[in-house]
Symmetry: C2
Amino acid sequence: MTVQPYHHGNLREALLERAMETIEEVGVDGLSLRQLARDVNVSHGAPAKHFRDKQALIDALALAGFESMNGLIRAASASDGDLRDRFVSVGKAYVDFAVAHPALLTVMYSTKHHPDSSTELRSTGEQGILVAQAMIIEAQEAGIIAAGDPQTLAMVCFVSLHGAALLAAGKHLDGATVEDVVIATTDTLWAGMTAGVPAAQAS
Amino acid sequence: MTVQPYHHGNLREALLERAMETIEEVGVDGLSLRQLARDVNVSHGAPAKHFRDKQALIDALALAGFESMNGLIRAASASDGDLRDRFVSVGKAYVDFAVAHPALLTVMYSTKHHPDSSTELRSTGEQGILVAQAMIIEAQEAGIIAAGDPQTLAMVCFVSLHGAALLAAGKHLDGATVEDVVIATTDTLWAGMTAGVPAAQAS
DNA sequence: CTACTTTGTTGTCAATGACTACATTGCCTT
DNA sequence: AAGGCAATGTAGTCATTGACAACAAAGTAG
């Protein structure tokens, strides 16, 4: 038996890492601070030194998730190919992330977060849509898609892909593969943006 | 003091009704069987006679939610106006329902449901997309939107509006009103589906 | 060496979901 | 009308959990 040092040394990271695994296994509701403490061989009161309460730990998880996802989205938007290809790539990156970490995505977009964390969380979560917005502006300047408020268009794209991501993550897409859904959705969105300026026609 | 009869008389419905209110006030996680029992003046063991466990009650809530929503969607799809107007109406009905019952919507699309309930839940939940699919077929037969697999197109529409609904329900749409988001989304989708159909340009 | 901070331990409390044994009611059959 | 019986409600119990407080150990700065 090796003697455990009194200090864990990196308890915070260990808890986050283990929590990330746990929520994908049993969901957020199945997450227990005490079980988490047991998993990393620490007493049940130790996590409190790093996370004020359970929600604080979940907030940290969500933030880490957004940062990870933003990296993938940014990489996709900087990929090779024309604008349309890159647009599809971003969509794929988003939905793929959702499928790979379904429970984490749910946590990320969960409505209930501590007020203090929510500010940082919100701004980090908005990074993704800003990438899409930049691509749309780029496409408009290139004359590929029609003029129109880029913010609104980006929001429509985000909203639609968000639906695809959540449904894919929740396994609510029965007859279609995730790939097909993303392709079909991005195709329709792109066709809609190249066709005209829908938001301006509303009347 | 009025004497309470030994039998509640309609405990199941009372529990569901009160639970519906509760989840909108404090979320699903704030739902407690014991508190629910207290609210309807019944002992803490009584709910077990109607719902095997907490999840069974939640399943029943989800089913009731879908049935209610399906009614609104069907009504919207049968509203006055041309196909495009009806399409937008259906989208609005969906998102409006989401905004009116955000917590319920979360429950409805929650991944974790009892295996037995999930079958009925799934089929009931699919009714909405079938309405959209019927409208798309109607539009294709009228030559308004381009040919294409109606099931795929309906899925794209559903997926996109689902994203709008969830984001609206979760108050993740900062700078835009719900109305604007629905209009912009349905506009883009419709434009994407009418792309390449010369007859559709005039409207 | 001593005081202070950080980190982890231990003990405790109320709330909760689930379970069991039992009591009451009212319908159904005879 | 009487007895049986399922449905419904009551009361008590148990393990688990999140939160909290008091204490202990390890590092750190003066």
